[in-house]
Amino acid sequence: MRELPTLPMPAPEPPAEGYTRREALVMGLFALAAAATTTGCAADKLALDDFVAKHFKDLSPAELQDRLAQMEKRYTESYGKPVKVSATPAQEGVLFGYALDLSRCIGCRKCVYGCVEENNQSRDPQTHWITVLEMDKEGGVNLQNANAFYDHETVPAPGKFYMPVACQQCENPPCVKVCPVEATWREPDGIVVIDYDWCIGCRNCIAGCPYGARRFNWGTPGIPKDEFNPVTEYLGNRPRQRGVVEKCTFCIQRVRQGLYPKCVEVCPVGARKFGNLLDPESEIRYIIENKRVYILKEELNTQPKFFYYYGL
């Protein structure tokens, strides 16, 4: 091939001996592409499997079983203990609802850390699904003056009350609306879930969520092996990858087995209540029907399945 002396395409470095400028350029581009691919894949040996993975809803039952087995194998290897990954379907006639007693909450953040442990949230960098807000009793529920970073010796601080906020599991979720790839959707039992293998990390849902409930994995999540919770759910607390969004799922791995969410279990003052909204006999229905209930940003018509109430 003849060299093109007049083409205005100067190479950044003199071409290697024996190659024309164009060949060198093409080779350089290939090298760059290869470098990009390897850096992207190096972090995860099974990147190719993930790359060709199907959307959760498109998996046939057999494919789902394969995928779950594959995940169990991978996580068992990474965390050095047998890991269970299930994909429990939603049960008919169940619509999960959550109620939180604002008059009982003392702001101890036990729920925050219980959640971190149960749901395998990253310890480094730190990810919390629950944010506890501190507000002045005098001011009432005024989010503009709330403090998420209070740091007292003991709680509750005098004159303050507390409001934990996590995903409100909206019936009309603004985050799901804007997702370009259906990586997040609302399940029939009302839980808004995320397929971590499908999320492209555009973060439009974070911009869309009016409750600031979604978290992005800016770096690779770090969980100590001995603190890893091996009972996991595909759409719930299984380990997340870097570059995807996560959030509260009402502990989908627990509630679909009939267990209460971890935050309900660890709350030392019984401020957290959980149940089936379709069950007229349930405690949650009693609370909604008989207590003073407060819905966060009710005016946005997101129709949360999370209710704040005043129990005392």
Binding site: P10, A207, F216, L300
Partner: protein, 656 residues
């Protein structure tokens, strides 16, 4: 000026590069290489290397995206509007404008990919796109715009191609280059028939590209506007962004014109008159932008909604954000308006200064649209009264500089391959009857390939466009994994014997029996094999969380106690109902409840998984699908028409 002079002057940009030119390209390449290194680091360590976090989750990359898409507008929109209105003075401007569009779009679109957490999953947008998402509107719209502006740029270049081929041959350039120009020329020659076909193609493109350009910046704004955030959720956001785009784009064209005028000595072609006219357009757009800005912030301020007020406090306040805002207002808007307003000041230097200020200012303004809104969180991010921090990291700055360098680099390289001023239009403008001596068309031997290339490209793009529509129009199968388990067909048989209750000697059995045609739950309490009389047994049925009491009663002499079986009470998804019985008194006998699962109970009907067409569901409302489909069909049909003209042009060349 004769056509020959024009040709010579304008082809001069294609002469071998000077040392200065090489230095320029070399330094641009260095910046691009640095940006590439930064990007590699980002791929390796994740977006953690940026300063974006959960509160300010979009930053400099999105700013660049909006900025470059804005610049791209200039181009095509200005060129198309001037062409449609047949403004004669457009001629030296159009080529540059059209090239800006294509290059800026490529850079802008790549900024979004750099911003993504998982760029490796880009294809998911095609495999599983949701038409309800503004991001998908962007994907569809930007793809359409990019294809359209490529076509537009190319169609307007066809008459120059034979000239370029002749020039390359004359200068003894590589035969490949000559052939490249020949293929692109489609055998075009100066003849009424060729001219007519070209005019038709160009006319159609110029008309259709205007609405496409408007749509692109509108949907870019809607990525923000469709959320509920203060400062974004605004009804004027679409037009506000469109005006901003044309505004910054026009400034970009003027800047490019000044730079090329100086670098390639085009003073005879890019006259002061051109700058004056563009300066007036720029002034009008600046005033319009000021008006829109006022409308936007005044309504928010007057309304005084909590979050809006906080955003305005941030923007107009004393902090760094406030400083940036006021610096923008003064140097990005008022100073340029002042410079452009008074005819006495309207020198080339003043216009250039105004354009550069506007370019920088509009980048800052986009930053001020994106970041402060995210700092005005709905749910407080930090200690009361403090806004979340964001300042671009070195990686973000490096990549941004790289994007700007890449833009300049592509533009420079484009100008080395094609004349930066349209030769044929400039000749036309000179009113010279002497047509450019076009050499006999060298119709390439591989004619078929040449003909099919554009057709195939457009067909592929069309198919791509249609493909993006497909997944939502076809109803998806139900969640395979969510189908309820089949109801158990087991008959309502007597339940299993009960486990021993404490103390070991006490036994509680629970069965389901039919007495006098009525189904009952029967419990039998025995102690050491002897029935216990007068023990209170409580019956309950398990619900999702906790249990529901059915009743309690005392045992009879035979140790049995019964309550009515709860008819009509639904079981779980598998048709199982778990009933339990526990001894309440005497306390000495009390123990853990005995549970029995009864199969084949009525259960809540397995409703088909509802997939309504809603904004939050997986399938888009028909109105959304219909509107987007119709608009795409109109645009792509027009593109098809243009390609048909080009095909006809090629056949015409072949016949003669």
């Amino acid at each position: 000026m004769t056509a020959t002079t024009i040709e010579r002057d304008l082809l001069a940009t294609l002469e071998p590069m000077t040392t200065r030119g090489r230095l320029w390209v070399g330094s641009l390449l260095t910046v691009c290489a640095l940006a590439f290194v930064a990007w590699t680091a980002q791929l390796r360590y994740g977006l953690r290397v940026t300063d974006m976090r959960n509160y300010v989750s979009w930053g400099m990359y999105m700013t660049n995206f909006v900025f470059f898409i804005g610049i791209s507008h200039a181009g095509t929109l200005i060129s198309a509007i001037l062409r449609v209105t047949d403004a004669g003075w457009r001629r030296p401007i159009t080529r540059m404008a059209e090239a800006i569009t294509v290059i800026a779009l490529l850079i802008g679109a790549s900024m979004v990919i750099i911003d993504m957490g998982r760029p490796d999953r880009l294809l998911n947008l095609v495999l599983h796109g949701r038409l309800q998402s503004p991001i998908l509107w962007d994907v569809v719209s930007v793809t359409t715009y990019l294809s359209g502006s490529f076509l537009y740029l190319y169609v307007a270049m066809i008459p120059d191609m034979p000239v370029l081929a002749a020039f390359a041959r004359e200068r003894g350039r590589s035969p490949r280059l000559v052939r490249f120009y020949e293929i692109l020329s489609l055998g075009y020659r100066e003849s009424p028939a060729h001219r007519r076909l070209l005019a038709r193609a160009l006319g159609a493109m110029a008309v259709i590209i205007i609405p496409v350009a408007v749509s692109v910046h509108t949907v870019v704004s809607w990525v923000f506007g469709m959320t509920l955030r203060p400062g974004w959720h605004s009804t004027i956001f679409g037009p506000y962004f469109v005006i901003g785009a044309i505004f910054s784009g026009t400034a970009a064209i003027i800047t490019a014109m000044v730079l090329f005028r100086r670098a390639y000595h085009l003073e005879r072609y890019l006259l002061l008159e051109h700058f004056h006219k563009l300066g007036k357009i720029l002034l009008a757009l600046a005033l319009l932008y000021a008006y829109f800005t006022l409308s936007e912030y005044l309504t928010a301020w007057y309304g005084g909604v909590g979050t809006d007020s906080r955003l305005l406090e941030l923007l107009a306040g004393a902090g760094p954000v406030g400083a940036a805002f006021w610096l923008w207002a003064v140097f990005g808007l008022f100073v340029p308006i002042g410079l452009l307003l008074f005819p006495s000041h309207r020198s080339l230097g003043a216009i250039m200064t105004a354009s550069v200020l506007i370019n920088v200012g509009m980048w800052v303004k986009r930053y001020l649209i994106i970041v402060p809104t995210l700092q005005t969180t709905f749910i407080p991010a930090q200690a009361a009264g403090i806004n979340p921090h964001y300042f671009p990291s070195l990686v973000e700055i490096a990549i941004t500089l790289g994007a700007i360098a890449a833009f300049l680099l592509f533009f420079t390289l484009f100008s080395r391959l094609f004349p930066i001023l349209s030769i044929w239009e400039t000749v036309e403008d000179a009113g010279d009857s002497e047509r450019i001596a076009v050499p006999a068309p060298v119709v390439p031997s591989a004619r078929r390939r040449v003909l099919t290339a554009p057709v195939a490209t457009v067909a592929l793009l069309l198919a791509g466009g249609m493909w993006t529509l497909a997944p939502w129009t076809v109803a998806r199968a139900q969640h395979a994994t969510h189908a309820a388990a089949p109801a158990s067909a087991a008959p309502a048989a007597p339940a299993a014997p009960a486990a021993p209750a404490a103390p070991a000697a006490v036994q509680l059995e629970l069965t389901r029996v039919t007495e006098d045609g009525q189904e009952m739950l029967l419990a039998r309490v025995t102690q050491n094999g002897q029935p216990v009389e007068g023990a209170t047994v409580a019956f309950a049925v398990a619900r999702t969380f906790g249990t529901m009491a059915l009743g309690e009663d005392q045992t009879l002499a035979d140790g049995t106690v019964a309550v009515e079986y709860p008819h009509g009470l639904p079981g779980d998804a598998r048709g199982n109902l778990t009933v339990s019985a526990a001894i309440r008194s005497p306390l000495s006998l009390a123990g853990a409840p005995v549970r029995v699962t009864i199969a084949g109970v009525a259960h809540a009907p397995v409703l088909p998984v509802e997939v309504p067409r809603a904004l939050w569901s997986s399938r888009a409302p028909l109105a959304v699908v219909g509107t987007i489909g119709f608009l795409l069909l109109c645009v792509w049909t027009t593109y098809g028409f243009v390609v048909v003209q080009l095909t006809a042009l090629f056949h015409l060349s072949k016949e003669n």
